[in-house]
């Protein structure tokens, strides 16, 4: 981001410099991130309210979720966050191959995360654990939760929270596929990597949301 970049082809006409353009985009992204935080905050508030009302239900039901799968997913998502940070580090040093490699790794980690999520969801659906009124659990692991009052609330909150989070992961995978394509085409350099930086910020936020979801839902 030197002043020599003043006539960079990616400089839009209404900005004075690449620096101004980069700073503006980044501020915009941070503002977008807090809208994401507030979007999720609704779910966290619902979680807290019901937990304060029915602590024993939430404590018991966190046992219904497999902490091993959740834990592995946490590590997978942390690894993907690391590869994203690494990809930005590489492009800042004009290492395009490093960028593309790490972005593809990120997509793979995200894919693993979604696959494990799929295993968890299908395991619950096959035992009648659905969000909302369709909730009718049966079988070894879930059957005894059938008549626990406010258990449907717990699972609804679980499905909605992880569901919205999962949608964000899917969107992130799409974005990273696009980044990998553009990176391979050679669109980015240490002079211009705004899309990588912004997508990275988005991805870290998705990771942070999961950092909170994991203990709240699976552990405590």
């Amino acid at each position: 981001m030197s002043t020599a970049s003043a006539h960079h082809p990616k400089l839009q006409h209404h900005f004075v410099s690449m620096d101004q353009q980069f700073d503006a985009s980044k501020l915009g992204m941070w503002l977008f991130l807090i809208t994401e935080i507030l979007l999720f905050s609704g779910m966290f508030v619902a979680y807290t309210v019901y937990r304060v009302w029915h602590p024993e239900v939430f404590e018991a039901l966190s046992g219904a979720l497999d902490w091993r799968l959740g834990g592995v997913n946490t590590l997978v998502l942390l690894a993907s966050s690391f590869t994203v940070a690494a990809s930005i580090h590489h492009i800042q040093n004009d290492n395009r191959k490093g960028l593309v490699r790490n972005v593809i790794l990120t997509i793979i980690f995200a894919g693993v995360f979604m696959f494990i999520k799929y295993l968890e969801y299908s395991g619950k659906f096959s035992h009648g654990v659905f969000p909302g009124e369709a909730y009718a659990p049966f079988g070894d692991h879930y059957g005894h939760y059938a008549d626990v009052p406010y258990a449907p609330q717990f699972f609804s909150i679980y499905f909605v929270m992880t569901g919205i989070h999962g949608v964000h992961v899917l969107v992130g995978m799409g974005i990273f596929a696009w980044l990998a394509f553009r990176g391979a085409r050679g669109d980015f350099s240490s002079e211009y990597y705004t899309p990588v930086e912004l997508s990275g910020l988005y991805w870290h936020l998705v990771d942070i949301i999961w950092i909170f979801l994991f203990p709240l839902l699976y552990l405590i």
């Binding site: 700073d23 980044k26 501020l27 941070w30 503002l31 991130l33 807090i34 935080i37 507030l38 905050s41 609704g42 966290f44 508030v45 807290t48 309210v49 304060v52 009302w53 029915h54 024993e56 239900v57 902490w67 834990g71 946490t74 590590l75 942390l78 690894a79 966050s81 690391f82 994203v84 940070a85 690494a86 580090h89 008549d147 626990v148 009052p149 406010y150 990275g200 910020l201 870290h204 990771d207 942070i208 950092i211 909170f212 994991f214 203990p215 709240l216 552990l219 405590i220």
Partner: protein, 123 residues
């Protein structure tokens, strides 16, 4: 790059720590400890992966603003839900309880020991 690797290792350690501590019953400390570790992990991600430590201060203020308003949302909602019915002019029974009584279902009786009796009383 070395910082990134270090932060990543720290995050893995904290994840293992939160799982291990959750396996042990610490009583009242369970929830605060898990949340503290989560906040620690989130701070690591924000400061180093998102590079807020070296970034323009405005971006940090924006993030804190978001956190502040989430807390406002949470705390002010709890002002109501945690004290619901403090005027004692509200019936404790919920529609759910009434329906359960009306159907007189055995299902309701089955677990009245573990959950349903205690739960509505919290309102």
């Amino acid at each position: 790059m070395r910082t990134l690797v270090g932060v990543f290792s720290g995050l893995i350690v904290l994840t293992i720590l939160t799982v291990v501590t959750s396996r042990i019953d610490l009583g009242i400390l369970n929830v605060p400890l898990a949340l503290t570790i989560a906040i620690g992990k989130a701070s690591l991600v924000v400061l180093f992966f998102m590079a807020l430590k070296w970034d323009n201060r405005v971006n940090g203020i924006v993030l804190l603003l978001g956190v502040l308003f989430v807390s406002i949302f949470l705390i002010f909602t709890l002002f109501d839900t945690a004290f619901r019915g403090d005027l004692s002019n509200v019936d404790d029974t919920t529609i759910m309880d009434m329906e359960r009584e009306m159907t007189g279902g055995d299902a309701a009786a089955d677990h009245s020991e573990d959950g349903s009796a205690a739960a509505p009383a919290d309102h």
